[in-house]
Symmetry: C2
Subunit: 364 residues, 2 copies
């Protein structure tokens, strides 16, 4: 998968010859965010810059995509680092990557007819040209609005599904703890765990978020990490210990969970967002010894590895969405030009629900 | 298992009434090491003290064991800490615990006839009385000396077997790295991995040990961590990355392994001996993020959990021992009185092979 993405990525970022576009063009130029400067810690104004380029004419096999929505995800920051991660580091000067939903504006590729919806790991652009490699048609489910379908089904939903059910393997009656619980993935993890008969405790960063988790989403308890010590609060809210700990944050919250794990517990490492803005080595969990003492399995995953199973997971997720069993909030920021600042919200907890950028209007 | 051991342990350490022994007594008194002072870091002279107690008369169901050998294992230090570990902390004033092999000197328990061999988690004693709970007969295998059979089959062998084959799950052609490779467990892990067609790299603490690993045991490479940077050396000796990392030490060696793991690799946490002598919180691995980036599974285990499968593992191990496929060294210290100082060798790397104490002579 690493190689697939990297190969695709290289072809996507290849030098674009300054060809003139044909008569059918929908726009003479496109706007793209370029990766300008590798961030030392937080993303700054000059980390990404917005530029306008002419749209080249389509060659045989290519399509022009008009972006409708872009998903902003914590892992975007990982791609900017020069760590050895699950992808080659994003080269400076290339277009910033993100998961996108678009409409085919023009096509010389029969797999993607004009007017159809397409999704994949794309670039931060209002229009872009691709040969279609790495993209798939987006099957809009009946009875779910397009923004909701893309926001939940493109990354967050499959991530919650795989991480909790295939890696965490909760049994009815288990206690499941999830951090960044009001985030896009966390909120789904908690609800799916409830659907499987677990006691669910969420950790989030405000009273409002905590209230939302318990009052709207049915979490058994929610802990505001800004207000109280997470370890103390978990001792109270997980009195029988933790069987599955679903980690999105890392640092002290992970340590608190490790401290209270039951024998044979599963620790799912989905994200370590508290460490992504650091260029210095970050110590691992201080309670690491509990991997022995409590016979734990700590397993990390990257959702891209599971792409071929998305249809199967999403069928389940759509059913739960339609029947009101999965609730969620979308935090939609309008306009490609606001994408960089919007991304920053993920690292301050400033977003309120699944973070997305609306770039183009859906066709009627 | 935790509860079984703890319950057994409590009964073993109950107050012993000062009864006089009957006529059949083989010795009027026994020597025991008592846990005297919880160590802050290293084990000191007053951590354990040797005392003599009268041997009580046997009640119905009890047996008197004359200890022949005691196994010294890194996990002994864990039992002395007041951390939340896999066992209740050893109470001050109780007899020190260890895996022992003994001969039944007297018996009022038909499951353990006089003269038979018995093994289990016992106390650091030359003679001790037990009701037999937690003990099993020791089936001395044909063609293997008693010291070798006890030294390899009581703890180290099953640990290597379970950790490597059931948790590490190596495939032929995989690169397996093992730390404390010249230790009792590590040396077996490497050889079992070779028997399964892997490339094996060991990390050890002297030139002599490294030479033993490559020249005698058939390791593909050995790294002397006192002489060179382990990460640099692993880059050279594991040029295709690491598929299974078997950790006995923790700290920098674990970090070096994590850095070079291949996608989907398994990290077996058998021991973290570099951290056991610390009373302060110890940071976890700095490359912990690789659990995501490389989609790792990090799993810890405690060999006591697998006790019911020992017969099955040991049948395999004995076959390999008899046919010369498993080589090992025993480091036997003579005399119960030297047990405390001998234990210290494990934390300085001063032992040379499986560390044991010879307490009593085998009957002819």
């Amino acid at each position: 998968m690493l190689k697939t993405i990297s190969a695709w990525f290289r072809s996507e970022n290849r030098a674009q010859p300054g060809q003139k576009r044909g008569e059918a063009q929908v726009s003479a130029s496109a706007h793209h965010w370029y990766f300008n400067k590798r961030p030392k810690d937080v993303i700054e104004a000059d980390t990404l810059v917005l530029r306008e380029d002419p749209i080249p004419a389509l060659k045989q096999g290519e399509l022009l995509v008009r972006t409708l929505y872009m998903s902003l995800d914590a892992t975007n920051r990982v791609w900017m680092s020069d760590w050895d991660t699950y992808m080659d580091p994003l080269p400076l000067g290339s277009r910033m990557l993100g998961f996108v939903l678009g409409e085919v504006a023009e096509s010389r590729n029969p797999a993607f007819p004009q007017g159809s919806l397409v999704t994949g790991l794309g670039t931060w652009s209002d229009y872009f040209v691709t040969d279609g490699v790495g993209y798939v048609p987006f099957p809009k489910p009946e009875g779910v609005p397009l923004a909701d379908a893309f926001g939940i089904l493109s990354v967050a939903g499959p991530t919650a599904y795989v991480g909790l059910l295939e890696i965490g393997k909760p049994k009815p009656g288990d206690t499941v703890v999830v951090t960044a619980a009001a985030g896009a993935v966390g909120a789904l993890v908690g609800q799916i765990a409830k659907l499987h008969g677990c006691r669910v405790v969420g950790v989030a960063g405000s009273e409002d978020k905590c209230r939302w988790l318990t009052d709207e989403l049915g979490f058994d308890a929610a802990i505001d990490y800004r207000k109280e010590n997470v370890l103390d609060a978990l001792k109270r809210e997980a009195p029988n210990g933790i069987d599955v700990h679903f980690e999105n944050v890392g640092g002290e919250q992970l340590d608190a969970g490790l401290t209270l794990m039951n024998d044979g517990g599963r620790v799912v490492i989905c994200g370590l967002i508290s460490t992504y803005n650091s260029s210095e080595p970050v110590p691992g969990p201080y309670m690491f010894r509990n991997v022995i003492m409590k016979r734990l399995t700590i397993q990390g995953f990257v959702i891209l590895d599971y792409a071929e199973h998305f249809a199967e997971y999403n069928a389940k997720l759509v059913e739960w969405m339609r029947t009101g069993k999965l609730k969620y909030r979308l935090h939609i920021v309008d306009g490609l030009k606001n994408a960089r600042d919007a991304l920053g919200l993920l690292y301050t907890g400033g977003n309120n629900g699944k973070l997305m950028v609306r770039i183009g209007k859906e066709s009627a």
